[in-house]
């Protein structure tokens, strides 16, 4: 299995994924690591149908179960894109045994007092103090963190 790209995007699978990232990285499998989506067949149906036909496998799982899922042999020849709704999800997956080398921050809107919080990294990605602490921890594990909404945009490296 080649884990090609790991992204945080509160919109999960949407236009930027289907139109830009999937073709750009020749992705053929998308795995969403989010507990709410994993329990919502309606969201799964809508999002799966929105992907181009090159993507022949789409799964929705709780973040903690990602490592076990991707350890399966059926993923051997796959080029996988993993999407988390938030940085908490990434932390859960890493604690669950998922090994990552790179993390792309895609979309997280400013939401005062909420998950997004107020600190602006780019127009598309805002972080709370909790997010920053999480990113610092991931960065300490050797993860390279960058902010980039679409492939055509220049990536901005995140440093603690």
């Amino acid at each position: 299995m080649t884990l090609v790209w790991t992204r945080v995007d509160q919109k999960l699978i949407h236009g930027q994924i289907a139109v830009a990232w999937v073709p750009h990285l020749s992705i053929d499998a998308v795995v969403v690591g989010d507990s709410d989506a994993a329990d919502d067949p309606w969201v799964q149906k809508v999002m799966t149908m929105g992907l181009p036909p090159e993507v022949t496998e789409t799964r929705f799982v709780a973040p903690a179960g990602l490592a076990d899922l991707l350890a399966g042999g059926e993923w051997a020849s796959r080029r996988v894109l993993v999407i988390f709704k938030d940085i908490d999800g990434v932390m859960e997956a890493v604690r669950g045994g998922l090994r990552l080398t790179r993390l792309n921050l895609g979309n997280q809107a400013a939401r005062p007092g909420g998950l997004g919080g107020g600190r602006r990294l780019t127009d598309a990605f805002y972080v709370s103090d909790r997010d920053v602490a999480g990113l610092a921890e991931l960065s300490g594990l050797g993860l390279e963190v960058q902010v980039q909404a679409v492939p055509a945009e220049k990536a901005v490296a995140w440093k603690p």
């Binding site: 509160q10 699978i13 949407h14 236009g15 139109v19 929105g50 809107a109 400013a110 939401r111 997004g116």
Partner: protein, 133 residues
């Protein structure tokens, strides 16, 4: 009369309405929701909810979204509700004009069907219908 809400990335919806008004005169009972980068799903959800309320006159609301698989469509589809809200994706000018023409004459589900068909029929590859030169 069926209310109409166009939900798109950026100002596309507003421009479709402006263009249709240029052709057919001022329109009532139409609203747009513009989804911009940096806007979260919750605020999009609220904006659509408000827009639906603002155009609702009892005959249901037709939600037209720009691209299946995009955020406007993903969020818009969650409002689907039999007899109350129908969603048609891939909106273009001919579809919107068809919706305007039918909104006072048909029930919501029928109108949605007809608008979808109008969308399909409005797209042609010129060389295919003209037989080439």
């Amino acid at each position: 009369m069926i209310g109409i809400v166009i939900v798109t990335h950026g100002q596309l919806g507003r421009e479709i309405i402006k263009t249709a008004e240029f052709i057919g005169g001022s329109l009532d009972g139409c609203a747009t929701v513009s989804v911009d980068s940096g806007q979260g799903p919750d605020s999009i959800l609220q904006a659509i909810e408000q827009a639906i309320k603002s155009v609702s006159q009892g005959a249901g609301v037709l939600l037209l979204t720009d691209m299946f698989g995009g955020t406007p469509s993903n969020v818009g589809l969650s409002f689907l509700s039999e007899g109350k809200v129908e969603v048609v994706t891939g909106v273009n000018l001919p579809m919107f004009i068809k919706a305007i023409q039918l909104r006072g004459k048909m029930a919501l589900a029928e109108a949605a069907q007809a608008v979808g068909e109008a969308g399909h029929k409005s797209i042609t590859v010129a060389s295919e219908i003209m037989g080439g030169k």
